[in-house]
Every structure is written in C-alpha cells, then in structure tokens.
C-alpha cells in the first residue's frame, strides 16, 4: 500500500497540501523490554506554505513524527491526513512529501548528478532529460561543476546541497527535513540555513523541519512546535512572526532574543527531564 501510493502523477502533487495529525501515537515494541512510547496522542495541523520547526530533546519522537507524516513509519494509533485545503482532495502519506535525511543517505556509488536524478530515473524519465533537470536543480541549490563527482569527494556542505537538490527535484508540496544540518560546522550551517530560507521563501512549500537547535528553529520557522521529553507530546506551539525574507542577521535582533528566551525556558525543563531518563533503544 505504501509503495503503490508513490506512483502518483506529478501534477497531482504540485499543489498546496496541508498535513493534519490527529491523535497520533507511536509505541516501539522492543524485544525483551517494556514497550517505549515515542509519541503520545499528538495533534497538530501543518498548513500549506508554513515552515514548522519541531523542537525537542533527544528521544522526544520528533523524527518519528516526521517519518510518520512522510509515510515511512506507520502510527500505532491515530491518523495523518494530507489534503489540498482548497478542494479537500487528499493524498496518501508519502505521495505528496519528500524527506531530507539526517544522515543524508546519498548513494555513495552514484555521481552527484545521478544521485539528484534518482527519483526521476525510477519514475522512468529519460537520461538526457533527467540529467538536464538535475543539473538545473543543482544550480538552484548553488552547486555547479561537480556533476561527475562521487559524494565522498565533496565537502559536508556540498553533500547537503546534493541531498537538498535530490529532494527538491521531486517537486512535492511537503518537504520533511530531519536535522539536516546537525553535522555541519558552524559557518557552513549558517550558509545552508540562508540557502534554505531563500529556497523556501521562493517556493513556499509546507515544511516540517526537525531540529534540536533553538536558534535554528527560530531563524527558519514560522512556528516552533516544542515537544516534551519521552513520551513525546506537543508542549507548546510558538508562532514566529519575524518578517521575511530573513537572513542570519536576524539573530542579533531584540525580537529574536526574546523568542529565544521564551523557547529556551520551555525546552530547558524538557532537556533536564530527558537527561534524567535512561536512553532506550528506540530512535528519536
């Protein structure tokens, strides 16, 4: 069911899509141990065109929530609906979204251009066309002249751009991002954040961005969804009504500082709670 749902015509999904999360829970059954509740009755609506950041301590289930929205995990209870707000027409989970992974998951044996073109290749797009589109998308994310390189020949920041291009080329209305910049050095991270802001502000997709960095969540997001330590619940949703287009200069403003303080006080409690618990085998 999950795989069949992928074969949807691209013009069906090149529209605005809302995500409604209704009473979603996820329980991991670990062999020989008591079950772990990763998510506990989460409700939220992610409207189209909004950049939502999921923020919480490690193990709060924020990555799991993103994977459930993307149809890559099934919820234990509750449901996800993905629908076009104007018509109410719905799409199966996974058909309207694409994930940018924490570990990037680039195919190490494929060149940069063939990594980016993978989604088009499996959809049956011809070689010349998919390469042309992949190169155009690479230019959009600011990476030209490295088409033939293998991922391991690139720097961390360049690999991020490849992964971003591979996701964006699918033209899905929902972009799921699971801590994509967590492994980058501080300067490269800032460059990538600004790049993402530029791309988001031009395309206005529905974005779910998982992070544990408060400044990143405020800089990028239209809202910050603060989650509790395991079991993951939504503790508070903080709207970020800072003007767009944004740049990294925003972090020096008073408004940013005030938001940071507010989010920090919410999150500090949860991090302290999370640290007091033993880490279980289940993924965050």
């Amino acid at each position: 069911m999950l795989l069949a749902s992928r074969f949807i015509r691209s013009d069906d999904v090149r529209v605005e899509m809302d995500v409604r999360v209704e009473a979603v829970s996820k329980v991991w059954n670990v062999a020989g141990a008591s079950p772990v509740t990763a998510l506990d009755t989460v409700h939220h609506r992610f409207p189209s065109g909004r950049f939502s950041c999921l923020l919480g301590p490690s193990g709060c289930g924020k990555s799991t929530l993103a994977q459930i929205v993307g149809g890559l995990e099934t919820p234990s209870t509750g449901r996800i609906s993905i629908f076009e707000p104007a018509s109410g027409r719905s799409a199966p989970p996974g058909a309207a979204s694409i994930m940018m992974w924490q570990g990037l998951n680039l195919f190490p044996w494929r060149s940069v251009v063939d990594n980016v073109a993978f989604g088009l290749e499996v959809a049956g797009v011809g070689r010349a066309e998919r390469h042309e589109r992949a190169r155009a998308m690479l230019a959009t994310v600011g990476l030209t002249g490295f088409d033939k390189h293998l991922p391991r020949q690139l720097s961390g920041g360049m690999r991020q751009r490849v992964a971003l291009a591979r996701a964006l080329i699918m033209e899905r209305p929902i972009l799921l991002m699971d801590e994509p910049f967590a492994a980058l050095d501080a300067q490269t991270k800032i460059v990538m954040q600004e790049e993402l802001l530029r791309i988001f502000e031009a395309s206005r997709k529905t974005v779910l961005f998982v992070t544990h960095a408060i400044d990143e969540a405020i800089l990028l997001g239209d809202e910050v969804v603060v989650m509790t330590a395991r079991p993951g619940r939504i503790k508070e949703v903080i709207p970020i009504d800072l003007p767009r287009p944004r740049s990294f200069d925003l972090v020096n403003t008073k408004a940013f500082g005030a938001l940071f303080q507010r989010v920090f006080h919410l999150i500090r409690e949860e991090v302290t709670k999370a640290m007091a618990k033993p880490t279980a085998g289940a993924a965050a």
């Binding site: 992928r6 890559l72 694409i98 998951n105 190490p108 044996w109 499996v122 991922p151 391991r152």
Partner: protein, 261 residues
C-alpha cells in the same frame, strides 16, 4: 620521485634480491647437495629448460584454465544464490543448513569422492575448483545484501523506487564491495584446490600440481622449486589483477569500505 615512493619500490625488490644472493652464497660455500637445496642459479636453469621443452607452458595453461573455468561457474552460481537468499527468506532458510554444514568442510576431503564419481579428467578438476570457490562467494554476497544500509533503502523508497528498483539500484550496488571480497577469497581457495586436485588426481594428467608431484617423486628438486616459483608468481599476478578490477568496478568503496553511509 619522492623518497618514500622510492622506498616503496626499492625495498621489496632489494628484499628479494638480497634473499636470493644469500641463498646462492650459502649453497655454494657450504656445498649443500642440490637434491636438498638447489642454488637459485640451478633453479633458473631448470626453469629455462622447462620453458624450452614446452612442459611449463602446457601445464601452466592447463592449471590456469581450470582455475578460471571453475571460478567462473562458482562466481555465477554463488552470486546468484547469495542475491536470492538476500531477497527471499524462504530461499535463505532452505540454503542455510547446507551452507552451515558444507562451508567449514575442508573441500580437499571431497577429492576421493569426486574421483570415484568423475574420474580424474577435466570435469573432476573443474568441479573441485568450482566447489571450493562457491562457498565464500555465496556467503559474502549474502552478507553484503544483508548489511545494506537501511537508510539508503528508505531513501530510495521515499524517492519512489519500487521493490524491484530498490533491489537493482540500491541493494546490488551496495553489496558490490562484499561480493568482490567473496570473489577474492574464492579465487584464493580455487588456486589451492586446483593444484591439490592435480597432485592427487593421477599420473595421466597435466597441470602445475602434476608437474610438481612428478618432479618430487624423481627427486628433481630444481624442477620442484621452479614449479613453486611459477605458481607463486601466477598467484600473485591473479590476486593483484583482481584488486585492480575491484578498484575499477567500485571506486567509491576503495577507501571507505563497505559500511560507508
């Protein structure tokens, strides 16, 4: 040329030349009988004579063709079964007890049975060669398929790949370093088993193993050494060639190893 590169080339060569020189001097000074230990110069003479009368080329060609024939059969069957086992739990469960029982069995112990069944002709040699290479190839392929990074499979699925596309475009290429590792192990044991099979197979045969045992029986010690030298060189060339092909086929895995993500 840097000092280091010079050392990389010069030291191994010096090591071999030095060893041969000491050997030659010790044999001459101590007057060791050639039947125990011929001088390197005598071995060279025997080698030249074997090359001139053609016995070296006939037997070397026989051995090499058996190695590659058996290896090719083992590679095709082994990779195919390994991939099938990775794809189907049922196939894996059916094959598993046989692999578990037969893999640790020294393949050389099958020689008497194979001679009873197949005689000592070409079939016997190739079957021994194929059996020996088959097991490491199957097991490495299967391990490679099982150890594929789950993240890559999920990413491919998210990008719209069907199960068949995931098999062909993710799992197979991801397993290539393991498969090549299995092929290298398989080649190593094939060389051993072909020569052993030739040694035991009987006197109506050809092959380096035959040449070796024949020379040993008539105490042609210089010919024994000449055969050993030829086999060592052939083995080294085959292994080096395989590594070279490996690097060309999977350049992305050379430094990173099979577990890079």
């Amino acid at each position: 040329m840097t000092k280091r590169r010079l050392a990389e080339i010069a030291l191994p060569a010096l090591s071999i030349i030095g060893f041969i020189a000491v050997w030659q001097i010790v044999v001459e000074v101590r007057g060791i009988p050639p039947i125990y230990l011929p001088a390197p110069s005598a071995i060279a003479v025997a080698l030249a004579q074997m090359a001139r009368d053609g016995s070296l080329w006939i037997n070397l060609a026989a051995t090499i063709s058996r190695i590659f024939a058996g290896f090719a059969v083992a590679a095709i069957c082994g990779v195919a079964l390994g991939l099938l086992m990775g794809r189907s739990r049922i196939v894996a469960q059916i094959a598993d007890p046989w692999l578990a029982a037969l893999y640790p069995l020294p393949k050389i112990s099958l020689i008497p049975l194979m001679i009873i069944w197949l005689g000592t002709g070409e079939t016997y040699n190739i079957v021994m060669s194929a059996i020996s290479a088959f097991f490491p190839i199957v097991l490495s392929t299967y391990a490679g398929v099982q150890q594929v990074d789950r993240g890559l499979v999920l990413a491919a699925r998210d990008l719209g790949a069907s199960p068949r596309q995931i098999q062909a475009k993710v799992i197979l290429p991801a397993a290539v370093p393991h498969i090549f590792n299995g092929l290298q192990l398989g080649m190593g044991v094939t060389i051993i088993l072909v020569v052993a099979a030739e040694m035991i197979g009987g006197s109506d045969q050809t092959g380096m193993g035959y040449l070796l045992i024949n020379a040993g029986q008539v105490m042609d010690t210089d010919k024994v050494f000449a055969s050993l030298v030829v086999m060592a060189v052939v083995g080294a060339v085959i292994i080096k060639l395989q590594r070279f092909i490996d690097r060309k086929a999977a350049p992305w895995a050379v430094h990173a190893g099979p577990h890079q993500d």
